[in-house]
């Protein structure tokens, strides 16, 4: 009984927090980190997943004319139209419209204005949404936000319980064991993880704690309208064709800069009360908020421009810009991708270390305790390698599901979750060593064979994309293959290590 009332010091309590908070929220955090890392290359993954959409670059005015034509043809009675012009890394022309609260989107050919008959898919957007919503909208955001707080707390407590960790890191005392890999990758990615977790937390904080917003505004729409200096107009039912968008483009470019128009939003299109908002692209600067110029939809008269932002708004939106990391181009994207993967390794090795540290103890135990640790080992496998396998299966499903399938985009997502479920069953069914090695090898195989599958099922295989310099597509294939090799190396190393010890 004496053990139960032992006086805990601060360090010991921090260790408890790090151990148990790290375990339960580590599962969430690994998923968030891994899918978030993939979301860095969202435009590339979307491009890879839409092999039918290969558009040539045309002038913005031509794209705009094509988009207007397509929107009038496909969404004449919509409430809002949105044109997403080709910009930066994404060269596709996309139209989107809202009708009765539902959103639709299509890729269109900028030369003809025809909708491209592609495959139904959510593309890389699935990863960037799953990354903070976990497919559960508000509940997911809650869980991810709390996990983010625990992450920052775990960094603080982690340094507190191993005070030598920073010294060890800089003295290059790097060992080949789970704990050392966990600590060294932790210090290596410390600034990045602090930045990305804090900025992510700032992004979701208004959702989990809308107190300040509710003090001043009835709805979040009211807040955004004031924040963006939006123009609100009474709705009219009278049908009038809107002022041609291409004719407005020069005056919009005068307000926002030539070649900077990224989005055009038309509220109440083809009505007397129509409003046209030209919005600046956000992928070339840290401040992730769209400058906008608003025009009367019918007369084409300039109404208002919003290009200056207040101090606090600049702080928050710059943090958002740092989180999405679009402004640094490919060097920054690769930096985020690699640091994100190392962050995943940090979380995964931490999860493994939890079981390694306690294995000798619980293997001699029976009953609930033993079952609990067994379950932890299985969940560790299913969460880490299972998440990787599910993500790569999502790309496989994109190539393997029949093109004529109804609700095809949903079917891909179902494939993602179904494969993940299978991985959970597999992890609980096999012994720990076998589950790790088999799932790692499966993940490695799926990643390494992705270029092969792409070559067999589409016309944008690796040889062709390399020859014509289509690095967006080739990059996904090559990165996947490289990850496959790396995963195989990990599987091989584990097999060798466990093979020796029996």
């Amino acid at each position: 009984m004496k053990n139960f009332t032992v006086h805990h010091t601060v360090v010991q309590r921090m260790r408890d927090f790090h151990t148990w908070g790290g375990l339960f929220f580590g599962w969430v955090l690994f998923i968030v980190f891994f899918t978030g890392t993939l979301a860095v290359f969202e435009p590339e993954i979307s491009y890879w997943m839409n092999p039918e959409v290969r558009v040539q670059n045309v002038a913005a005015s031509e794209s705009l004319a094509a988009a207007e034509k397509a929107l009038r043809k496909n969404a004449a009675d919509a409430d809002v139209w949105l044109v997403i012009l080709p910009q930066g890394r994404s060269s596709m022309l996309e139209i989107s419209w809202k009708k009765n609260g539902q959103t639709f989107d299509r890729y269109i050919d900028p030369t003809t204005g025809d909708v491209i008959k592609g495959r139904g898919t959510d593309g890389g957007e699935f990863f960037s949404h799953f990354h903070y919503e976990l497919h559960h909208k508000h509940a997911g955001t809650w869980l991810v936000s709390i996990a983010g707080l625990v992450m920052l707390g775990a960094l603080i407590s982690g340094i507190m319980i191993r005070r030598n960790v920073i010294k060890d890191f800089f003295c290059l005392r790097w060992r080949k064991n789970w704990l050392s890999v966990h600590m060294m990758t932790g210090i290596l990615t410390l600034p990045f993880v602090v930045l990305i977790t804090y900025s992510g937390l700032v992004m979701t904080f208004k959702d989990i704690m809308p107190v300040s917003l509710n003090t001043f505004y009835k709805t979040s729409n009211g807040y955004w309208n004031e924040f963006l200096d939006g123009v609100e107009r009474p709705k009219s039912q009278e049908k009038v064709q809107i002022y041609p968008l291409t004719a407005l483009l020069p005056s919009a470019e005068k307000e926002l800069g030539v070649g900077n128009i990224g989005f055009v939003q038309i509220q109440q299109p083809d009505k007397r009360s129509a409003l046209i908002n030209f919005m600046r692209r956000v992928d070339d600067r840290m401040l992730a908020i769209t400058d906008r110029a608003s025009f009367d939809g019918v007369t084409g008269e300039w109404l208002i421009s919003k290009t200056k932002w207040d101090t606090q708004a600049t702080i928050v939106r710059s943090l958002v810009g740092l989180h999405i990391g679009k402004f640094g181009g490919y060097p920054m994207a690769w930096g985020y991708f690699i640091l994100g993967l190392i962050g995943c390794v940090m979380i995964a090795t931490g999860l493994v270390f939890f079981t390694v540290k306690r294995r000798s103890k619980y293997e001699q135990e029976w009953g609930n305790k033993r079952d609990f640790f067994r379950a932890v080992e299985a969940i560790n496998v299913a969460v880490t390698t299972g998440c990787i396998i599910a993500s790569i299966s999502y790309l496989w499903a994109n190539r393997l599901l029949p093109l004529s399938l109804k609700e095809r985009a949903d079917a891909e997502v179902i494939a993602f979750f179904f494969i993940w479920l299978l991985m959970f069953i597999h992890a609980f069914w096999r012994t720990k060593e076998k589950a790790w090695v088999e799932q790692l090898k499966l993940a490695a195989g799926l990643c390494a064979c992705l270029p092969l599958l792409n070559e067999m099922t589409t016309s944008v295989g690796l040889p062709k994309t390399l020859l014509c310099g289509d690095w967006m597509t080739a990059g996904v294939d090559l990165t996947s293959a490289t990850l496959g090799v790396a995963l195989w190396a990990v599987a091989w190393m584990l097999e060798k290590r466990w093979g020796n010890t029996g």
């Binding site: 139960f4 009332t5 601060v10 709390i146 704690m209 107190v211 300040s212 807040y223």
Partner: protein, 110 residues
């Protein structure tokens, strides 16, 4: 009969909340960190929103957006540094009452 079981249940709950068992301490600390931390951040956000004299309300909202996550984090870390889970709960709850009271008074004068 009914009364006796009721008091027994109350006793069990009381025992759980006052428990010094390490596992119970840990659970109580996690609850204090997440819910107590949320409460103190919530009331502080409300008080700041009501008391900041800034003309533009969007600026107040943005200010709260980047500052209050740090308060929440500090509350969580402090909860685990506190001497006991019961003490952490006590301080957090009195903090919520105090800051919440300030917010309440501020909302009357607004």
């Amino acid at each position: 009969m009914q009364k006796i079981t009721m008091t027994a249940e109350v006793e069990i709950i009381k025992e759980l909340f006052l428990s010094t068992h390490p596992a119970m301490q840990l659970i109580l600390r996690f609850l204090a960190a997440i819910f107590g931390g949320y409460g103190i951040t919530y009331s502080l956000m409300k008080a700041i929103s009501l008391l900041l004299p800034w003309q533009k309300h969007t600026e107040t909202v943005s200010f709260c957006e980047w500052l209050l996550p740090l308060v929440y984090l500090a509350a969580i870390v402090w909860t685990f540094a506190a001497a006991s889970a019961q003490y952490a709960w006590k301080v957090l709850l009195s903090g919520i009452v105090l800051v919440g009271g300030i917010a309440l008074i501020a909302s009357c004068f607004r």
